[in-house]
Each structure stands twice: as C-alpha cells, then as structure tokens.
C-alpha cells in the first residue's frame, strides 16, 4: 500500500516534464525511504536518476516495495489536469494495476481523481558509485541553460574545460565557433541563488553532445541552481536539487571521445 501526499503538484509535474523527452517508459520504485527512478534514454548514453525522499511528502506511507511502471506521456496527460498549487496524492495497492492520483485544490473546493493504468517494464538498474569529481561547478540553472542553448546554435557538441582560470564552454561548428567562460566568484554566499562556485582538484577537458545537455536543462524549472560535476573519462553529472531534503534529479551523460 502506497500513499504519498505532495503539498505542491508542481513538483511532480516539473520532474515528469524534465524527463519525459529523455525516457518514454519507466518504473517509479517506491519504498519506505521514498520514490526513486532510474532510466536511460533510447541510445543508452544518458541516464536520469531521481530521488524523492519520504520527507518531501507529508504524509508518506509505503509498506512494501512497489514498482510503478508508467508511460511518462500518459502520466503527463493526467498531471496536466492538476493546478500547480494543488495538493497531489498518489495511491497504489501492493500489487497494483493502476496508480490512483488525487488532486485537491488549495481552497479544498475541488477534488479530481484519476486512475492511471500501469505497465510491466523490464529495466536494468545500473549501480552508480559515489564519485569524487575533479571539478564541481555550481551555477544558476538559468545560466547553464542559456549557455547550452546559445552554443547549440553553433554546434552539435560542446567541449567543457575546467581550469584554474575558470570553466570554458566552447563550440566549434560549420558557421564558426563560440565560447563562454565562467569565472569563480569567491564572494558567493552559501545558499544564495546567484553566483558561480567552482571546486577544482585537477584540470578537466571533455566533450559532450549539446542536444542532450539542452534536454537536461528542461529541469531548470525545478531548481534555481544546478551542479555540474566533471572528471576525465567518466560521465558528466548534472544535478538539480528538489527541495531541501536531499531529494534530487540527476542526469548523467557519456562524454564524446574523438
């Protein structure tokens, strides 16, 4: 039996919006610590991993581990019926055929209820180890999105170079080339939305597909800040925080090797 009440429907709406273009069908794995999701795109070069901790819900109850297999397009259709401020409740049996989704308006004068049919999805789970990245950049999510979309106009791929000078995004395309360099601002206050923070332990230079990065940036609506973690010859990590309880949405992307 699963029952999870989310104060703001917008959170789930945005999460699903952010990943529905990357993956079509996926399992929401529910256990007593929260709801998790891990899925790869069709080409298996990008991976999305979401964790909504039990603390993000009020209340949260999950007696047994349940996998809710869903088509994200279908889920989007249902979630479209919810206002951003609605209270959203997810309910499911222990071996569910359907996921029951309830929207209550904040004024408590409107209740809508939907049942979404579930699917059996065979999905392989990858074990992702905790990694100490050579470079960790924290910046406003809007800034990162802007860089990606701007450079996507120039080229298919971007090379990201992190050095003592700062971090340089450069794209080399048919019509010319362009680059954006961000410098670390030492005076960034902890918890502030603005400013760029770079932690660097060694020099890193990697190339990534811009189309994928642009796709990741759809999650910018979820959080004001984004964390980009890089290490040579390992996948890039783009992380958005979901609230203040360690819930997160993470994207991994394999680097291009020439």
């Amino acid at each position: 039996m699963l029952e999870a009440r989310l104060e703001q429907a917008s959170l789930l709406k945005k999460v699903v919006d952010a990943i529905k273009d990357l993956v079509q069908d996926c399992n929401f794995d529910c256990n007593d610590s929260g709801i998790a999701l891990q899925a790869m795109d069709n080409s298996h070069v990008a991976l999305v991993s979401m964790l909504l901790k039990a603390e993000a819900f009020a209340p949260y109850r999950c007696d047994r581990n349940i996998a809710l297999g869903m088509n994200l397009t279908s889920l989007t259709k249902v979630l479209r019926a919810a206002q951003n401020e609605d209270i959203l409740t997810l309910k499911a049996e222990d071996a569910p055929d359907v996921l029951n989704i309830l929207f209550e308006s904040s004024e408590n004068d409107r209740i809508s209820e939907y049942d979404l049919k579930l699917m059996d999805i065979d999905q392989e789970h990858l074990g992702i180890p905790e990694t100490d990245y050579a470079a960790t950049i924290s910046l406003p999510s809007a800034e990162f999105r802007r860089i990606c979309t701007d450079l996507a106009a120039m080229s298919e791929s971007v090379s990201i170079e992190a050095s003592k000078e700062g971090i340089k995004f450069s794209a080399n395309g048919d019509i010319g080339n362009g680059s954006v360099t961000l410098r670390s601002q030492s005076s960034v206050e902890e918890g502030s939305d603005a400013g760029i923070k770079i932690e660097l332990s060694e020099h890193v230079a990697l190339t990534f597909s811009l189309k994928y990065l642009v796709n990741f940036c759809k999650a910018a609506a979820l959080s004001n800040r984004v964390k980009i973690c890089l290490s040579n010859e390992v996948p890039l990590l783009v992380e958005y925080d979901l609230g203040s309880n360690n819930s997160h949405l993470r994207f991994y992307l394999a680097p291009k090797v020439s």
Partner: protein, 437 residues
C-alpha cells in the same frame, strides 16, 4: 494500451484461482466412467428381443453394428455428432422412473454426463444389402465358363461371409429373420427348388431393377434438402451473366446445340428439350429487342439472369435420379458392383432411361461456366487476384503492426525524435561506466 498490467494480472489471478479450484474441488467427482453411456434412438416397433449385433458392412465388408429385431427386420445406425466448433455433451438423468421419496438416496448416482455428444439413430435397412456381397461371390478356383455363379442355398451363400466377428450365423437361426433374408434374396435372384431348400443365383437385371426402383422412390417428392441443395440445385445452377450482351449470345448458342442433340431422338425427353429451346429463342429475341430500345436497364439484366439459370423439370428429375442412384450404390454396394450398376444405368438399353438431355445440359453448363469465368476475369478490375484467407491474415497482421508503430511514433514528443537524431558516435554506453546491479 495493449501492454497494460491490468490484463496480465487478471489472467494470472484467474489462473491461480483455477489451480486452487482444481486442487480442492467443491464437489468431489467420482472416477471418470471408462464406458460412458451412448445415446440411441431406437424404432418403437422394434421388439424387446432386438439385439445389436455385428454384421459385415455391405459396402466395405468390415464388421459394423446393426440392430436386428427378429420380427421387424434389420436397422442400421446413423451417427449424428455435434460439430467440433460447438462442443457438446449429454447430461443424462433417468428421472421419472425413480420413486419420489427415494430421490434423496439415489440423487447422486442418477445423473451422468457423457462427454461425447454423439447420437445414434436406428433406421430400417433393406436386408438385401447384407446378402448381396455373398451373392456376388464367385468361386475363384474355377476358370473361364466355370466361373459362373451357382445355385446355392442361403446358408451356402452366407457361409462365405462368415468371419470371427460376424453374428450372421446366429441371426440366421431366427426363423423370421432368415425368411426375411430369403424373401429379399428372391427379389434379385433366379431361384429353383432343390430338394426342399430353395436355391438362389444372382440375376443382375433383377438387381438393377430393384436398385433403380429404390432410387426412384428416393426421388419421389424430392431428395433430402441438403442433398437436393448440394447435388441438384448447385450442380445444375448456371452462372448469372453479368454482361447482357454476352448472355444473349450464349443463349443463341444454347438452343442450337440442344436442338442438334435432341433432333435424333424420338423420346419425350428430346421433345421437351426442343420445346424448351424454342421458348428460349423467342425469349432471347424479345430481350434483344428490348435491349435495342432501352439501353440495358437493370430489369433487362435480371431477366437475362433468370433465363440463364432456368432448367427444365425433366433435367432436374434426371439429376435427382442419378444422385439417388449414386448415393445408394456408394453407401450400400461394394465398389465393383457400384461401377457395374452405374454403367448399366448410363446405358439406355438396360436402364430404359435416357440421360442425354442431362448430359447435354452439363456440357452446355460447363461452357457457360468457362465463359462466365473468363468474362469475370476480364471485367473485374477491382481484384487483381483472388485473396486466400492466409494472405488476408498476413495483410491484417502487417496493417496492425504498422498502426501500432504509427501510434507509438505519434506518442513520441518532438524532443524525443530530436534526441534520436543525435550522433552518438564516440559516446560510450553508460553501462560501460556503471556496472549493472
């Protein structure tokens, strides 16, 4: 959504339920009856002494079951089974016989289920058919002229049919059955009185006359509807002409051939053929005229269609007789005898029946059909070739797959399509970095 979980789980659940049920049945069933009861419909006039016995099948000499009643004769069984597509069974309960107060005790043992829904109907069969194979029997040890059949008593004749399984000798001990068999033998045999016992020898002409009279009787008032439909109506049906021009052409041809065939004969059948042909010509002339005035109206077409199908009653009766005769021979006579009799049926001198009009009609019909087939092949542009069921199925399957694919594509967002186009060359799969759990 075909792959939703709900349907799958449902079936799994019912399966579980079913297995549960089978493991612990609510009502314990007894062991399966090894010899389930069989349903028979027996004639009322058959007496209590009637027995089901093994007699050699007159057609193939294999021992088969027959009901023999010492007073009323011999009955054959016809098996009526339910079609495979509609599985049925008998629920047999012998109620009404039991005392009402007794039901509580006998309730359980009363009812029975017979899994096969076969029904056996006993109908009268001419005993003649049983003795025929014996009468036909020739002594193979003699040669040439000596191979003629001999006058023999019924016992000597039927002795040749004696096999392990047959009960023929037993039923011959029944006085009335024996006399019945003898009287039937007399109908097809020359007989002499040989010292108290009557001796028989098969007379083929008599036999043919008997079979023919049976066939005629069968024809009286028409054949059984299914037989009539399949062997008479369908066989004689002329194709309906689509093009009126063509049909009037063929009609002009038809009377001339019939006339040609019929002119030589002086039998009434030939006459009727003639009269039919004259009416046909006048009709076709008429329709040709009306065609000239009204440019091929639908009424006109109809008229043509009907006249092309029209068959005279004589021809229908001949076809019925032929069908009945072949039915009797194929069912009750040995194969060799059947061919022998059918050839004598075709021979006008022995049978006294002229099948010429029927044969002429069939040749005409074959021509018409061939013509219709060619005209259809020319006129039908909608279908380039005949579709058989398998092809159609394959096509439907292909269509379904295509639609599914289309649906899937339609559900993909633009961004997803864009991502598919991304050149991922040089990008390793994530499973190369992260190990599977």
């Amino acid at each position: 959504m075909a792959r939703t979980r709900s349907t799958k789980n449902d079936s799994a659940e019912t399966k579980k339920e079913a297995s549960l049920k089978s493991s612990a049945p609510k009502y314990p069933l007894g062991a399966k009856n090894e010899k389930p009861p069989t349903m028979f419909i027996l004639p009322k006039k058959a007496t209590q002494d009637a027995r089901i016995v093994n007699l050699p099948n007159p057609r193939n000499a294999k021992p088969s079951r027959y009901l023999v009643c010492p007073t009323t004769g011999i009955y054959e069984f016809t098996k009526i089974s339910a079609p495979k597509s509609m599985p049925r069974s008998w629920l047999i309960e012998s109620s009404g016989v039991e005392d009402v107060s007794d039901t509580s005790k006998t309730n359980n043992s009363n009812g029975q289920v017979a899994s096969s829904a076969d029904l056996y109907v006993a109908t009268t069969i001419d005993p003649l058919f049983f003795v025929l194979p014996a009468l036909l029997h020739t002594d193979s040890s003699r040669k040439g002229e000596e191979k003629r059949r001999l006058f023999m008593t019924i016992y000597d004749h039927l002795d040749k049919l004696e096999t392990e399984e047959s009960h023929m000798s037993e039923i011959l001990r029944w006085e009335r059955t024996r006399s019945l068999l003898e009287s039937r033998m007399a109908a097809v045999c020359d007989s002499t009185d040989g010292g108290g016992d009557i001796m028989f020898r098969l007379n083929e002409k008599k036999l043919f006359a008997v079979i023919l009279s049976k066939a005629r009787k069968m024809c009286q008032g028409g054949l059984a509807p299914s037989m009539e439909e399949k062997f008479v109506t369908k066989a004689l049906e002329a194709p309906v002409q689509v093009s009126s021009q063509r049909s009037s052409d063929s009609k002009h041809a038809k009377p001339s051939t019939e006339k040609g065939l019929g002119s030589g004969e002086s039998t009434p059948q030939a006459e009727s053929g003639d009269s039919q042909s004259t009416t046909a010509t006048s009709q076709s002339d008429l329709s040709a005229d009306s065609q000239a005035s009204t440019a091929a109206t639908s009424v006109d077409d109809d008229d043509d269609g009907v006249s092309a199908v029209k068959v005279s009653d004589d021809i229908v009766n001949l076809q019925r007789l032929r069908t009945a005769f072949s039915f009797i021979s194929s069912r009750y006579l040995t194969a060799s005898l059947a061919t022998q009799l059918s050839s004598s049926l075709a021979d006008q001198t022995t049978s006294g029946i002229d099948f010429a009009p029927l044969d002429a009609y069939f040749t005409e019909l074959a021509k018409l059909r061939a013509e219709a087939a060619t005209s259809r092949a020319i006129g039908d542009y909608t279908k380039k070739r005949g579709l058989d069921a398998e092809e159609e199925e394959a096509r439907a399957e292909k269509k379904r797959k295509l639609e599914e694919e289309k649906k899937k594509k339609a559900s993909e967002s633009r961004a997803t399509k864009e991502l598919k186009k991304v050149n991922t060359a040089g990008m390793m799969k994530l499973s190369a970095f992260f190990k599977k759990k």
